[in-house]
Amino acid sequence: MAEITYAQVQAALAKLVAETGAEVTAAAQRRSRLAAKATEASVVYDRTTDLKFDVLTLSDVGTVRDRLAGQAVSAVAAANAANDLNATARSAAKAIEQRHGGINSAVASATVPAAHESAYNNRL
């Protein structure tokens, strides 16, 4: 008995595709949230400048603004990474199906059990 069957591999990859798709959605939403917050922080910094706050306070608010901007940039990177991961999982599932799906169907529809794999792999 094999350690894992073809159907189990495909099921695991299908589940992975679904779950990474959920990560894509979550990352995109987070990216939007952080973009809005970073823009808001930039506006707040300008407002504090207009109100002529002292240099130290302006520096503090500027640091907060820069932190949020950095988070927004990293959120974009994370969203892209999640997107790439989902695409890779999809392509892997598709490629494995192309490679082993036909063999699986042929073995399943045969009237006798398949012989040892070397009987088929040793080609002329």
Partner: protein, 355 residues
């Protein structure tokens, strides 16, 4: 002779009246006998029920129409008043509100909007245009400091369409240009389930980037004491609102850090499962390409996990920075704010004091 003639006329008139009266009585009697007097009560009750039903239908329809039409009408009136105040075209504002309500109704009819409460109350009327040049409109707030001159900035509450985030942190530059964002494609899978509740965050790691990273004083407000406001909901126009915004940013950053921590946990579980699949496929002597593809997915999972771990760490740092900044503002300006609040007169020019 004359008397005889008068008598004859009176007699003829009386006889005619009597004959006519008899004929009418006879006819009425015949009609009364022919009338169907059975089930009179049921007939009266049926009429009453029919009338009551019609009245109820009319009243119900009237109430429903009123409840749908009046909120829209009220929005229209507010929009017209606002447009008149800001010098815009009231007709255009009215048309916009009506179109919005119609669109919402159409969406509900089409089934794309589930909440029927969205029908009678359309979104808020168009925000009044601030007294600012068109370049400072909220449609392009990506570089507000660069685009808007001093004093011509739109208020915070009009930031509705979040643009791309500012660029990487450059403390020397007050305005951040938009970064080279590569927006991810729209997801094709269903949205995720609600993430698992994240554990309470540990103590913040400290404001590494704050210029005065002094410890928060005892009077500093506690973190995460209030629910997070919507972006732009707090308009900063003074010390109090600045502190409120910073504390809201603390909440925001902590929630983002919690979100990242939960994502790290989820991705770790995916990695473990994929490791098991890879090991089993290796034992089952799958071909090298298949194994390499599974390994590639596993590697990218690790990359995403590291990215979210960094997110969690930067979120904690950001929360610490916001908290320290709020404490600093309170420490520097809180006493002045309290003195101004306790005074019976407004503050004069700043240069008047502290000489």
């Amino acid at each position: 002779m004359e008397m005889l003639a008068i008598f004859l006329v009176v007699w003829a008139f009386g006889h005619g009246v009597g004959t006519g009266s008899d004929a009418v009585k006879k006819d009425h009697k015949a009609r009364s006998e022919a009338m169907d007097r059975t089930n009179t009560g049921a007939k009266v009750a049926t009429g009453l029920v029919t009338g009551a039903t019609a009245a109820q239908t009319f009243v119900k329809g009237f109430g429903q129409g009123w409840s749908e039409a009046w909120p829209v009408r009220r929005e229209v009136m507010e929009a017209r008043r606002e447009a008149r105040r800001t010098g815009q075209d009231p007709g255009a504002a009215q048309a916009q509100v009506i179109n919005t309500a119609r669109d919402l109704r159409g969406q509900v009819i089409a089934g794309t909007v589930v909440d029927p409460a969205a029908v009678p109350v359309p979104p808020a009327a168009p925000a009044p245009a601030p007294a600012a040049p068109p370049t400072a409109a909220p449609a392009a707030p990506a570089a507000p400091a660069a685009a808007a001159p001093t004093g011509g900035r739109p208020p915070l509450h009009v930031v509705k369409n979040p643009p791309e985030p500012p660029a990487a942190p450059t403390p020397a530059a007050p305005a951040n240009p938009a970064p080279p964002v590569t927006a991810p494609a729209a997801p094709t899978t269903p949205p995720p389930a609600a993430p698992a509740a994240a554990p309470a965050p540990a103590a913040t790691t400290g404001g590494t980037g704050t210029t005065t990273p002094a410890a928060a004083p005892a009077s500093a407000p506690a973190q995460r004491s209030a629910p997070m406001a919507k972006p732009g909901a707090i308009e900063v126009n003074g010390v109090d609102s600045l502190i409120a915004w910073l504390l809201d940013a603390v909440n925001f950053a902590n929630r983002e850090a919690d979100d990242a921590t939960a994502a790290v946990r989820r991705i770790g579980g995916l990695e473990q499962r994929l490791d098991a699949v890879h090991a089993a496929a290796l034992a089952s002597k799958y071909d090298a390409k298949t194994l390499a593809e599974i390994a590639s997915v596993r590697e990218q999972l690790g990359g995403l996990r590291k990215s979210r771990e960094e997110d969690a760490a930067t979120g904690r740092d950001c929360a610490a920075n916001c908290n320290t900044s709020a404490s600093n503002v309170q420490k520097r300006h809180g006493a002045i704010q309290e003195a101004v609040g306790a005074s019976t007169a407004p503050m004069a020019q700043t240069s008047t004091y502290g000489d």
